[in-house]
């Protein structure tokens, strides 16, 4: 009987997710976006595309790290073709850096607006345009009503949006599907080589709608995102095996 109840509850949860607009993973996204264990924090265990993600990045260092994470995600989102819009009032992103994250910088269109409210206007217009790979906007603040408008826009177009917010003090409630915070971590090079290694970040999911917030460590390597614990475990295993073999 408890088993049956569990099944029913599980089924009900799935139904609720469906009603809330979380579709079960489609074939295209079946292999995930490459975030590894972080994806399990989201409903259905899938990184939600066609939704708005909120990234908190108060310092330029964090903004750079967030830019790296977003660029890594863009690399996957833009695989099927499509362009990407980057809207901001004071843009500092250096396009050539995107190459390292498998994004062709010439497929990113930058829109530099004068006023803060134009950012949100431009983002809403862009999110209505079906088939864009993603829209990224750098904003200082966003109200609940404004985020609701963006949410309505993506619900019909299924475009993924990223809001990069540089003023976390005002972070009130929004309709965004998740709130992220990315902080740089010291990099690591094998065998104590001198120099700077692959970028490493501490990725915190502060808030996930219908999911489980958490904290992960992530590294960007040539083959994409790599969760750090796993990698170290792998190393330990291989070391152990080597020892056994030796």
């Amino acid at each position: 009987m408890p088993e049956a109840k569990k099944d029913i509850i599980h089924q009900l949860q799935k139904d609720i997710l469906l009603w809330q607009g979380f579709t079960p993973p489609s074939a295209a996204m079946a292999k995930g976006i490459g975030l590894g264990p972080i994806e399990s924090a989201f409903p259905n265990g899938v990184f939600p595309t066609g939704a708005i993600h909120e990234m908190v990045c108060p310092t330029p260092e964090q903004a750079a790290a967030t830019g790296g994470l977003v660029a890594g995600l863009l690399g996957v989102l833009m695989q099927q073709g499509g362009a990407c819009l980057w809207i901001s009032t004071s843009r500092r992103l250096f396009p050539p850096s995107l190459v390292a994250f498998n994004v062709a910088p010439d497929r990113v269109i930058f829109i530099d607006v004068q006023r803060e409210k134009d950012v949100l206007w431009a983002m809403e217009e862009a999110l209505k345009c079906e088939g864009l790979a993603a829209v990224i906007a750098e904003v200082r603040d966003i109200s609940f009503a404004q985020s609701r408008r963006l949410q309505l826009a993506v619900e019909s177009s299924r475009v993924t949006g990223f809001l990069l917010r540089n003023d976390p003090r005002k972070a009130g409630a929004t309709t965004c599907v998740a709130r992220w915070q990315v902080t740089p971590l010291p990099s690591n090079l094998d065998d104590e080589l001198p120099g700077v290694g692959h970028p490493r970040w501490q990725v915190d999911l502060l808030r996930v709608r219908n999911g489980n917030p958490g904290s992960w460590k992530l590294e960007w390597t040539d083959s994409g995102f790599m969760p750090i614990e796993e990698k170290e475990k792998e190393q330990q295993i291989s070391l152990g095996e080597r020892r056994k073999a030796g």
Binding site: A63, A64, P96, F110, C129, G197
Partner: protein, 502 residues
């Protein structure tokens, strides 16, 4: 081919009428404008009262003052007539799109195919003349098949102002030779020979006329009779793609303007679609009742003849149009059109949305019209190592990178627009600094890569080279620092931060 018809308007007291409009108190005073001509001060314009007392244009100012002691004498402003006529001509565009200024005191309108809109030529001419007279300009007008005949009838005609098609030769017979717009020297000669009317020489042998009076004389005669074409110097060169919408009632509401724009766009786009062309720039003008012209323009990233899309672009601008008392006439011009690429219509698939996508171009048009086209950029690689010059803005959506993006060296995610000075402690030449202070914060450098020397491109600008280091501090934050020039003992002004790595 359609029979041409022209209106000639003659402003008899152009400059003085203008003066009276400006200073109504001069209405009952004889006024003349004078200007120095070859050491003589000559009357260049006289109002009705002055003329009634015997003052004519061309008379010496001193003589004029002797005839009328209480004459008000004003200095002529050079270029005044041309300016006034241009303004009046622009006002007249509501009657015909083809207007030419006829210096020094007239306007010429090509009204071919226009008059029926005002219920025929008598009503048309009456409308123009009464409207101009009600504004305060003493004007006479005439309609004829040729510019020359209309000009002559407007100035010298005594009976009827409208010459029926083909009737210009008869109408000219009783007029003096001056009505043919001849030079003063020829007029004098004709006078001497006793040719007081056109009828007295129109039947003469052409070769004899040419021998005595020259080619210019014959040309004017032929132009008046319609044997020779006379091109007009149009005030407004005709835009090849232009639509007009006169309104019966002045339009004052946003809805009205919307309807007008839609109507104009439909007409324009129909024509463009037929010719396989699309709009890149379109200008909407509204001629207001108070004589002002309001205008707004849109631009597109790709040539298009989608009326719906163009309307959306104009829709953003409607709020900036002030109809005031109402708009009588809308015109829509497309000064820049380009060929539209004919595309096979495909069923919508999200995967196919690339830079060449129509909906993306339309989105960018909407954004460009709000934030300005210069604020939308896309970057292509450029063959320069100098970081600021390693990218260049793309000209169009279609432009492809000419060279590959460089992948060899790590580049920061964020680049400061201008490198910022930092304080460092660097003990060994060509080694990264041990610590640096940026914005009053001390960063201990734990790991570093470099130096990567980037030489200044001396053929583009002058200065020191830069030695770049990628450094990581104790908290794992990664920066891009450089030293400008070679290592030296005093490092206070050498080190800069230029970016942040992911």
């Amino acid at each position: 081919m359609m029979n041409k018809r022209f209106v000639s308007l003659w402003f008899r007291h152009l400059t003085t009428d203008r003066l009276t409009l400006r200073q109504p108190e001069l209405k009952d005073v004889p006024v003349v404008f004078v200007a120095p001509v070859r050491n003589r001060v000559v009357v260049t314009g006289a109002n009705f009262l002055a003329e009634a007392q015997g003052i004519t244009v061309g008379m010496a100012a001193a003589d004029a003052k002797a005839i009328v002691p209480d004459l008000k004498v004003m200095d002529d402003v050079p270029g005044m007539e041309a300016k006034l006529l241009k303004a009046l001509g622009e006002w007249c565009i509501r009657y015909s799109p083809h207007i030419a200024v006829d210096l020094p005191d007239g306007l010429l309108l090509d009204i071919t195919g226009c008059a029926h809109l005002w219920g025929g030529e008598p009503g048309y001419l009456k409308e123009i003349v009464t409207r101009l007279r009600s504004k305060g300009y003493d004007v006479r007008g005439a309609i004829a098949d040729t510019v020359g005949a209309a000009w002559a009838i407007a100035r010298f005609g005594r009976t009827k102002p409208i010459i029926e098609p083909g009737g210009q030769a008869n109408a000219l017979l009783s007029l003096p030779p001056a009505s043919l717009r001849l030079e003063p020297l020829i007029l004098e000669r004709l006078q001497k020979l006793g040719f007081y009317k056109i009828s007295s020489f129109i039947g003469l042998n052409r070769s004899a006329l040419r021998r005595r009076f020259g080619d210019g004389f014959l040309m004017r005669l032929n132009q008046a009779l319609g044997n020779e074409d006379e091109p007009l110097q149009l005030l407004q060169p005709i835009e090849p793609y232009s639509e007009r919408l006169p309104c019966l009632e002045p339009i004052r509401t946003a809805t009205g303007i919307e309807i007008a724009i839609q109507t104009l766009l439909e007409k324009l786009c129909k024509r463009l679609a037929g010719e396989g062309k699309g709009v890149r720039i379109a200008i909407l003008k509204g001629y207001r009742v108070d004589g002002q012209i309001i205008e707004t323009s849109i631009g597109t990233n790709r040539a298009t003849h989608q009326a719906g899309h163009l309307f959306k672009l104009f829709e953003l601008k409607i709020s900036s149009l002030e109809p005031a008392l109402g708009i009588e006439l809308f015109t829509l011009d497309a000064p820049k059109v380009e060929d539209v690429e004919v595309e096979q219509e495909v069923l919508w698939s999200p995967e196919s949305c690339d830079l060449s996508n129509n909906s993306l171009a339309e989105l960018l048009d909407r954004l460009a019209n709000k934030v300005g086209a210069g604020n939308i950029r896309r970057y292509l690689p450029q063959e320069h190592y100098w970081p600021e010059r390693s990218i260049k803005p793309a000209i169009s959506l279609k432009e492809k990178p000419a060279t590959a993006w460089r992948t060899g060296r790590a580049r920061p995610s964020m680049l400061l627009n201008r490198p910022e000075r930092i304080e460092v402690t660097a003990l060994i030449p060509d080694y990264p600094p041990m610590l640096f202070i940026y914005r009053n914060k001390v960063h201990q450098v734990k790991k570093a890569d470099g130096p990567e020397r980037i030489e200044r491109e001396w053929w583009l600008d002058e200065g020191e080279h830069r030695d770049y280091y990628q450094v990581e501090d104790e908290n794992g934050r990664r920066y891009w620092l450089f030293r400008s020039g070679h290592y030296s003992g005093d490092q206070s002004k050498q080190w800069f931060i230029h970016g942040f790595f992911a």
